[in-house]
């Protein structure tokens, strides 16, 4: 029987983290050298954690699937990182960021975790500046800020449209420094395929070297998963091609609880889908909504003419344009949170007002901003994004409005963790997008970078010591324990099974099919019947996959199709769990929109009485129903209200 204890410290919200740190267990410097930590993933959370552990004196092994830690997908984050510095003097505070994040998450996040995030946000900016991250600055030499969705203040720090890149390179620098010192061992192109549990504690991992195909064993006193999100279950998403959910999924199958799997973020401003050969979707940063105005034609016949290529957007007069976000949400306008903006775009397109040749796009128009600020100012702010858009779409956004449509971007769900970021398996921690903890049912812009670095630099280096303090007498593990034999055999058996199928369809064939099921039924709008249908269809597709997938080559050496097949097999199980979770949650909240539960105006209708909880799923077998464990959410410091971005 699993007992959930979130281990939230006592006291007023603003004192919890201070109290925790004051009384937590620590490991003395001499003992730190005796303890080893495995970190899986080299993105913001993983690299920051590994570097910080090593600086404290722990020995660290860090694993990445790329050729270099700098390639982790955090690199692609564009817009910015939030912090409560209040440099613009516009009324920001820890409480306000905490409030905005809980509200933005539609009251489905854990209060204490979110407050801590707000509290350490400023340390992150200080740290990054000290590392030489070139944040944008004013002529005075001081740091510049801009605003992001779901906030009334400008609290976002940025480095042009490449904030994720610069923050990751900062963390990569810190990691490189520790690798050079010899305390961190970096394993590149090595993928975790299973978790090893010894006497109920996470003690190691099984990996596959992606070039040689060799299966390896690694042991440690604790394991941190910082492997990102599972957005690629939809096949098309803004995630990188190799981003996958396998590490967290394997942890789930070994007993870790999976929290809120159906909470997926759909980003409103992505370049629309153009063909069935398409491999991924490209995000256009939310920061563009600072200056861009979103609209569709007011008249359906204009929209139809545009779809047929008979009319250009610049030919539509001002009075015939519907700036629907400004119309529906006067207070926040174009800067409403992502879930709200995405649904509003879908609503207009479904009603027949969409543009582009598919009718599945809306305009993001910079004409007013260019008139107000000049082309140079817009180029300085968004030059690289405009260039990217032009290269992909072959249209000049300085002259004609951009076309955008929502796409899968981020997963708020992930492994359940307590206040210490520890899963229900002792010694197994999850950080960054891989855990569920801070964003509730919808993440606000510029909060993912903040959470990844907060977990890595300022939370785990403290909380992991509470666990490790009890481990100082435990000697280094040998990898010849029967638990390692068993895990390695399980991995080998599964790999052999995959390669032995020798069917007739490629991995992508199945992955694309899964993506269509997920987008149609577990995407932006969900219904009971659709979700039930999706569960059935995913099961059938999974059976077909295990009978008919075709993987060329063998288990040795570089085999990209084998890597993809392993990840796809996991997605074919994870997708089903997402549908189950969405079906169980009979309410709409944040990114989870059940069509049966909406207000007359089409807004999400929560059911706080019955669904103010974290839904945690326990694995019971691939074709068995998972068991639900609820962690009730208590709101002691925020009044739970209906989200309102109108006034």
């Amino acid at each position: 029987m699993i007992k959930l204890d979130a281990k939230i410290p006592e006291g007023p919200i603003a004192e919890k983290w201070t109290n925790y740190k004051a009384t937590q267990k620590l490991v003395n410097p001499a003992n730190k050298r005796k303890l080893e930590i495995i970190v899986v993933g080299t993105g913001l959370a993983g690299a920051a954690a590994a570097a910080s552990f090593s600086e404290l004196g722990f020995r660290v092994k860090i694993f990445g699937i790329h050729d270099s830690p700098r390639r982790a997908h955090s690199i692609a984050a564009q817009g910015g990182i939030n912090a409560t510095k209040n440099y613009p003097n516009d009324g920001d505070s820890d409480y306000r960021l905490f409030y905005d994040t809980v509200k933005g998450g539609d009251y489905r996040a854990r209060e204490a975790n979110v407050y801590r995030l707000a509290e350490v946000s400023n340390n992150i900016i200080d740290q990054c500046v000290a590392q030489g991250v070139p944040f944008a600055r004013e002529y005075s030499g001081y740091l510049a800020n801009r605003s992001f969705g779901g906030a009334l203040v400008s609290r976002t720090f940025y480095a042009r449209g490449q904030t994720g890149q610069q923050l990751l390179l900062g963390a990569y620098g810190a990691l490189s420094k520790e690798i050079h010192s010899g305390k961190v061992t970096m394993f590149t192109r090595e993928e975790m395929l299973d978790l090893v549990i010894v006497d109920g504690r996470a003690r190691g991992i099984i990996t596959r070297h992606l070039i040689t195909g060799e299966i390896r064993r690694h042991a440690a006193h604790a394991v941190v998963l910082a492997t990102g999100g599972y957005g690629n279950v939809f096949f098309l998403s803004t995630n990188a091609m190799n981003s996958n959910g396998s590490a967290v999924w394997r942890a789930y199958k070994r007993g870790a609880l999976f929290a809120n799997p159906c909470f997926v973020q759909i980003h409103p401003t992505c370049i629309p889908v153009h063909g069935d050969y398409q491999s991924k979707l490209t995000l256009m940063s939310e920061s563009l909504r600072n200056d861009g105005r979103i609209w569709v034609p007011k008249k359906k016949e204009d929209a139809q003419k545009i779809q047929r290529g008979e009319l250009k957007p610049t030919e539509i007069p001002e009075e015939d344009r519907d700036y629907y976000l400004e119309r529906r949400y006067p207070a926040f306008g174009n800067l409403v949170p992502r879930d709200v903006a995405s649904r509003a775009a879908k609503e207009r397109c479904d009603a027949g007002y969409g543009v582009g040749n598919t009718g599945l796009a809306v305009y993001l128009d910079f004409a007013d901003a260019i008139k107000r600020l000049g082309r140079d100012a817009i180029e300085a702010r968004y030059g690289n994004l405009f260039q990217m858009y032009e290269k992909i779409v072959d249209d000049n956004p300085y002259e004609t409005p951009m076309m955008i449509y929502p796409a899968i971007h981020y997963t708020m769900g992930g492994l359940w963790v307590d206040y210490e970021l520890q899963t229900n398996i002792p010694g197994l921690f999850a950080a960054g997008e891989a855990n569920f903890s801070d964003h509730g049912a919808n993440r606000l812009g510029a909060s993912a970078l903040m959470q990844g670095l907060s977990d890595g630099y300022f939370v785990l280096p403290y909380t992991i010591q509470s666990y490790l303090a009890d481990q100082i007498t435990v000697p280094d593990f040998k990898t010849d324990l029967p638990e390692f034999d068993e895990a390695e055999k399980r991995v080998n058996d599964e790999l052999k099974k995959l390669i032995g199928i020798k069917g007739s369809q490629t991995v992508d064939h199945f992955h694309k099919k899964l993506g269509h099921i997920m987008w149609d039924h577990v995407g932006m709008a969900r219904r009971k019947e659709g979700l039930e249908e999706a569960i059935k269809m995913i099961k059938e597709l999974r059976e077909e996959f295990w009978k008919d997938v075709k993987i060329p080559g063998d288990l040795s050496g570089k085999n990209t199709e084998l890597e993809k097949a392993w990840r796809c097999a996991d997605f074919l199980e994870l997708g089903e769990l997402m549908a189950r979770d969405a079906l169980m949650r009979n309410e709409s909240c944040g990114g989870h929109f059940r069509e049966e539960y909406q207000t007359e105006e089409g807004e999400a209708l929560r059911d706080d009485k019955n669904f103010t909880f974290v839904a945690n799923w326990e694995f019971k077998g691939v074709d068995k129903e998972p068991e639900l464990h609820k962690e009730p959410l208590k709101y002691e410091f925020i009044e739970v209200k209906t989200r309102n971005y109108k006034e």
Binding site: S68, H73, K85, M388, K558
Partner: protein, 252 residues
């Protein structure tokens, strides 16, 4: 579009490689170059052949994984862009496209179009950072930085570490890559304290890895997908000479 592809195939680092010719048909001009390769790979798998291995990940031009030499140019026919962002409309219907991996002794081929760029990581590890540990740093606004300098540092920091500069250089020099990091940190006050030590350590490691020297042909700047400027190399040379002349004997 119909295209003839001449692709470098090499099973692993120990095998001998060679060009193989393939044909792809009905490619949309709106498909990206890598999507065109995806289509080829799907066909190869159906035929029971091994697909072409190539490093790629974000497909947004920022991760730096791409390392394709296309028709004699790193990242293909367009400038200021990685190959993942190049779309097929840039190619002529019916033409032949030659695809090779990066060519440089310091970047050995691993498989087909994949190369080993770990030398870049080792150069960064040697000193491409500010040696600050987590915590104990001043408030971010206590270090005001001239906006022009900060922008210039950002220009240099935009490097994605793809290695196109090395691949295009006739000497296989890594000077543009190394100088971008040296410059970024030399331009910022935070980076001054260990600037001399940094440049010497990074250059030493660069030489050790077997990269060639810079002879100022400027090919690296012309082919850099992030438009990193040649002036960074001049700055690095200045920093390096300054460090050597500084009479400050240091143990590296």
């Amino acid at each position: 579009m119909d295209l003839t592809l001449k692709i470098w195939r090499q099973k692993d680092s120990k095998s001998k490689g060679g060009f193989k010719t393939y044909h792809v048909k009905d490619i949309s001009p709106d498909a990206s170059f890598l999507e065109m390769l995806d289509i080829l790979n799907e066909e190869l798998i159906h035929k029971g052949e091994m697909p072409v291995n190539f490093d790629n990940d974000c497909r947004e031009g920022i991760c730096g994984a791409c390392s394709l030499y296309v028709n004699g140019r790193p990242h293909g026919p367009d400038s200021a862009i990685t190959i993942c962002q190049v779309h097929m409309r840039k190619f002529k219907d019916g033409s032949t496209v030659t695809i090779e991996p990066w060519r440089s002794r310091a970047f050995p081929v691993i498989s087909d179009l994949m190369v080993d760029r770990s030398a870049f990581d080792r150069i960064i590890q040697a000193g491409g950072y500010i040696s600050v540990s987590t915590g104990g740093v001043p408030d971010a606004n206590e270090i005001p930085i001239n906006k022009m300098k900060a922008d210039e540092a950002m220009d240099a920091a935009a490097c994605i570490g793809c290695g196109a500069c090395v691949a295009t250089c006739k000497n296989a020099s890594a000077m543009l890559f190394v100088s971008a990091k040296v410059s970024q940190l030399a331009l910022l006050p935070q980076g001054q304290i260990e600037a001399k030590r940094r440049v010497q350590k990074m250059v030493k490691q660069m030489d050790y890895e077997g990269f060639g020297n810079c002879t100022n042909t400027g090919a690296c700047e012309a082919e850099c997908p992030k438009e990193i400027k040649l002036t960074n190399i001049a700055r690095m040379n200045r920093e390096f000479i300054g460090a050597k002349l500084g009479a400050q004997k240091m143990k590296l």
